[in-house]
C-alpha cells in the first residue's frame, strides 16, 4: 500500500487554520523538522499543538511560536523558550500543562480506541481540579480522556512505503504514541526503504496508523544540553 508522498509541503497541505495537531519528540530529540519548517512556511495559524515540549526560541515548535501560529499548547514541560514565556504572560498563548505520563497515555488511549484511562498522576493536586477521581484497591486515580487530534506529525528513523516505522534510541519517545493517535498521521523519516526493507519483528509503528510518509532532508538534530565527560 503506497503512502509515499514527495515532501513536507505535500504532507501538511490539508492542515489549515485552527487545526489540532500532535507533534512528536522530546525536547528537540525526534522532532519532525521538515514538517515544522513547512508549517512555518505555510503560515497556518490558530493551531492547537499537543507536544511534550515547545521547542527552543530558534528551533522546533519555537519557530511556530515566533511566527505566532500557535493558539494553544498542550504539553508537560515548556521551559527553555523566551518567546513562549512572553506570549504566555501577554495572554496571546494558552497553555494546558499535563503530566508527562498522562500525556503519553492519553495518546495511547486514542491509538487503542480506549475512550479514557485511569492514572494516579496529579491526584490531590491542581491537575485533579474538575476531574473525576475514583478509588481502586485503596488508591485514587484520575479519569483522563483520550486525545482527539486531526493530525499527528511524527519523525522516525526508517520507514517503508506501507508506512511502517522504526525509531532510533530515545528519539522514539512520544512519536509512536502520537502516530497511533492522529486521525491523519504524517510520518517523516530519515531513510525511506523499499517494501520489505524493514524487519517485520522490529517495527514500532505498523503502517495501518500512518497515512502519509516521506523522506525528510537536511536534518539538524540539534542537541539541547550537550553534556560530555573527559577522556582520562
Amino acid at each position: 500500500m503506497n503512502k509515499v508522498i514527495a515532501n513536507a509541503e505535500e504532507a501538511i497541505k490539508d492542515i489549515s487554520d485552527g487545526a489540532v495537531i500532535m507533534i512528536g519528540g522530546f525536547g528537540l530529540c525526534g522532532i519532525p523538522e521538515n514538517c515544522i519548517a513547512a508549517l512555518v512556511k505555510k503560515k497556518v495559524k490558530g493551531l492547537t499543538c499537543i507536544s511534550n515540549n515547545a521547542g527552543v526560541d530558534d528551533f522546533g515548535i519555537g519557530l511556530m511560536l515566533q511566527n505566532k501560529q500557535v493558539k494553544k499548547m498542550i504539553s508537560s514541560y515548556v521551559g527553555e523558550n523566551a518567546e513562549f514565556e512572553r506570549q504566555l504572560l501577554s495572554g496571546e498563548l494558552e497553555v494546558e500543562l499535563i503530566p508527562q505520563g498522562t500525556l503519553a497515555t492519553r495518546c495511547l488511549a486514542a491509538g487503542y480506541g480506549m475512550p479514557a484511562i485511569y492514572t494516579p498522576a496529579g491526584v490531590g493536586t491542581e491537575v485533579a481540579q474538575g476531574k473525576e477521581t475514583r478509588n481502586f484497591n485503596g488508591k485514587d486515580y484520575l479519569l483522563e480522556f483520550a486525545f482527539e487530534a486531526g493530525f499527528a506529525i511524527v519523525k522516525a528513523w526508517k520507514g517503508d512505503r506501507d508506512g511502517n516505522l522504526i525509531y532510533h534510541e530515545t528519539a522514539r519517545n512520544f512519536n509512536p504514541l502520537m502516530a497511533m493517535a492522529g486521525r491523519i498521521t504524517i510520518a517523516e523519516v530519515e531513510e525511506l526503504v523499499p517494501a520489505g526493507g524493514l524487519n517485520p519483528d522490529s517495527i514500532h509503528t505498523p503502517g495501518i496508523y500512518v497515512h502519509h510518509i516521506f523522506q525528510g532532508k537536511g536534518y539538524q538534530k540539534r542537541i539541547e544540553q550537550r553534556t560530555v565527560r573527559k577522556k582520562v
Partner: protein, 218 residues
C-alpha cells in the same frame, strides 16, 4: 558542616540495593549515579524511554538521538532497552521502578511534595514529576534543608502547589537524613558536625528524635 551536593548524592547512593531499577531526577539526583557502591548493580531508567543509562559521552561522541529526561547527551550500557513514553510511564506506574530520587521545593510531614510551580513565576510544567511521585514504590527526596532565605523546606503543610500527596518516604538534605513517618519527620542521621538542635530549628514540620542520632560518615 552541611553536606555538599555531592555528599547528598553519595549518601543517597547508600540506599541503593543490588538489582534496583532507579529513576534519578534532574539536579542532585543525577549525581547519585557517580556514587553507586561497589558490588551493587543498579539499572538506571530515564523516563523519556531508556533502561540502562550509562555515563555522559566522551567529547565528540555525543548522539543527538540519545538523551536523558534532562535532555542531556548520554550513553547506554550493554543490556539497555529503548521504549516509548507510554511504556516508560507504564513501568513506573506499575511499580517496576524500585526507587525514584528527585528534588523538591517543599516536603510536608505527611510526605506531600511540591516541586513544580511557584505562583507568580513562569510555570514551566511538571514534566514527569507528577507521574513519578504518584506511582513510585519508593521516593527519596534530595534537597537543601532550607531555602536561600533560611526558611525551612520541611513543613507541616506544603505552601506551594502540590506535585503529589503522601508519597515521599525519605529525605536526604544537606543537614540530615529523615524518614517520613505517621508521626512526622523522623531524624535518622545528622550531617557531620550538625547538631540535632540546628536540625530542629530548621525543620518547621513535626520532627521526631528518638535516642542518639548518629553522624553520617564519609
Amino acid at each position: 558542616m552541611p553536606l555538599t551536593k555531592e555528599q547528598i548524592a553519595q549518601r543517597i547512593a547508600r540506599e541503593l540495593k543490588d538489582g534496583y531499577y532507579v529513576n534519578l531526577g534532574i539536579g542532585i539526583p543525577t549525581l547519585v549515579a557517580n556514587y553507586i557502591p561497589a558490588g551493587i548493580n543498579v539499572v538506571l531508567q530515564s523516563e523519556n524511554g531508556l533502561l540502562g543509562m550509562g555515563p555522559f559521552p566522551y567529547e565528540g561522541e555525543e548522539d543527538p538521538d540519545l538523551i536523558n529526561a534532562g535532555k542531556q547527551t548520554i550513553t547506554t550500557v550493554p543490556g539497555s532497552a529503548f521504549f516509548d513514553s507510554a511504556m516508560s510511564f507504564g513501568m513506573i506506574r506499575a511499580g517496576k521502578v524500585d526507587l525514584t530520587v528527585l528534588g523538591a521545593m517543599e516536603v510536608s510531614e505527611k510526605g506531600d511534595i511540591a516541586n513544580w510551580k511557584i505562583p507568580g513565576k513562569m510555570v514551566k510544567g511538571m514534566g514527569g514529576a507528577m507521574d513519578l511521585v504518584a506511582s513510585a514504590k519508593n521516593i527519596i527526596v534530595a534537597m537543601m534543608h532550607t531555602n536561600p532565605k533560611g526558611e525551612s523546606k520541611l513543613l507541616p503543610e506544603c505552601l506551594l502547589p502540590l506535585t503529589g500527596v503522601g508519597c515521599v518516604k525519605k529525605i536526604v538534605s544537606d543537614l540530615a537524613v529523615l524518614d517520613v513517618t505517621p508521626g512526622g519527620f523522623k531524624l535518622l542521621e545528622r550531617a557531620p558536625g550538625v547538631s540535632t538542635e540546628e536540625i530542629r530549628s530548621k525543620t518547621a514540620g513535626k520532627l521526631v528524635i528518638e535516642g542518639d542520632i548518629p553522624e553520617m560518615q564519609f
